[in-house]
Symmetry: C2
Subunit: 290 residues, 2 copies
Amino acid sequence: MAEPWKKLGIIAGGGSLPLKIAESCQQQDAPFHILALSGYADDILKSFKPSWCGIGEVGKAIRVLKDHGCDAVVLAGNVTRPNFATLRPDWRGAKLLPKILSAATQGDGAMLDVLVATFASEGFYVVGADDVATALTVPAGALGMLGPDTCDLSDMRKAAAVVAALGPFDVGQGAVVRQGFVIAIEAAEGTDLMLGRCAPLIARLQGEEGNRSERRGVLLKCPKPEQERRVDLPTIGVRTVELAAEAGLAGIAVEASGGLVLDSGAVARCADARGLFVYGYTSHDLREGA
Amino acid sequence: MAEPWKKLGIIAGGGSLPLKIAESCQQQDAPFHILALSGYADDILKSFKPSWCGIGEVGKAIRVLKDHGCDAVVLAGNVTRPNFATLRPDWRGAKLLPKILSAATQGDGAMLDVLVATFASEGFYVVGADDVATALTVPAGALGMLGPDTCDLSDMRKAAAVVAALGPFDVGQGAVVRQGFVIAIEAAEGTDLMLGRCAPLIARLQGEEGNRSERRGVLLKCPKPEQERRVDLPTIGVRTVELAAEAGLAGIAVEASGGLVLDSGAVARCADARGLFVYGYTSHDLREGA
């Protein structure tokens, strides 16, 4: 291990990302301890004998991780905004709450920044999921057999420009563009719901063009331009590919090294079976005429 | 009539806007003829003895309007993108089709620009709905009894900035911001669907804050920054107020003189009854500290 820390604390929200990180640590013989967030973390983590704490128990989280000898933390998995009104914070959590509430009005990113700063101030290295499980990082190029054609590249560029334009607003890690037409822009609803509303809109366009079989359009996901890159990286999995397929899209583009892919083998197989591309794009791909 | 034209041709799509324009012409004793688009225009227009034509019959439209002595046209009402594959254009329509199809990839705005240019090249004045029915234009200030408070004004400013940022992409006449948090951004789905997806997102936030009765958040609508202001102005009506109320929003802001309000009396009454504001904002309102 060339890492500058000794033991990693995995603060686990929902979904399979915390599990993937734990497995990756095991494979590398890297010491870790899981702090599972009650009500969010998956039961499957139980086999790792995690500690549990509530979402408002910031003091307990810090103490437990220190007691287990952790000197680094990774925030991983989905955490929907807690119900602030019924939250039961411990003393440390209560002290942090005004800052969190104030940041909440700016967006999820600002709220996560407060948490990152808190752990950093306690002397933890705060690392990204992509730092501790490099295998999860979206690689450059096509993940499956297919890649984007000229039209798809052009759609990718427009979608990337849309997301970049929204940078100052702490919103939007995704957009769908189809033959130059901006179909959908992601805000607070999340990628799955965005793809869901694309399906009927695109079905109509396909009907109009008289060619229902041809896939057109790209879902692009990338980190918010100003976001803290150690948390909340855009993540895709098999479900994302399935929803993109149902929407009639040609493929999914994720910023290479700027996003995570869960089960990349399964994602590639699903994309191949459905006739979509999954592509890790670089700044080179965004250049006109690239 | 101080208008520079003699007779107005109302090219009528769906919804009640064409009717409102016809009624406004009648009240002002201004001569007009309705060209109703088959499959789009409302049957209620029949009392005005309109001519009918198909969406692809551009040559017929021009001839009919000229035969009726029209020297100005207004494009009014909703027209969803036609099914280009099954469209039956006349000769003139067919000649225009490649341009329309190429513009279609840029967005609805670009497509409408082609139509505007075509009628202008035939010598018609192309006028906006707000030019011929000034009573439909959103006035500056509150339409009903309520107005925005400091927090709402701040949400308006952020929503206006979001829409402005999307200017280069021919997309988005609307956004919903709630206490600084960008809930939704409108792309191809339209305002009603956008408000529909806000409802559960905002209900959750209200639950989290433990105050379900307090309305928070603003739907802002304004013309796309670069759009041809004579067509497709953002339009609100009673239904918009109802959907905004169901989403738990505090109110609706529309650019004064930049949007249309159908049945402003009914809209104001509905807003008052539901406890929302409907506000025509000016550039002054968007200034920080205004």
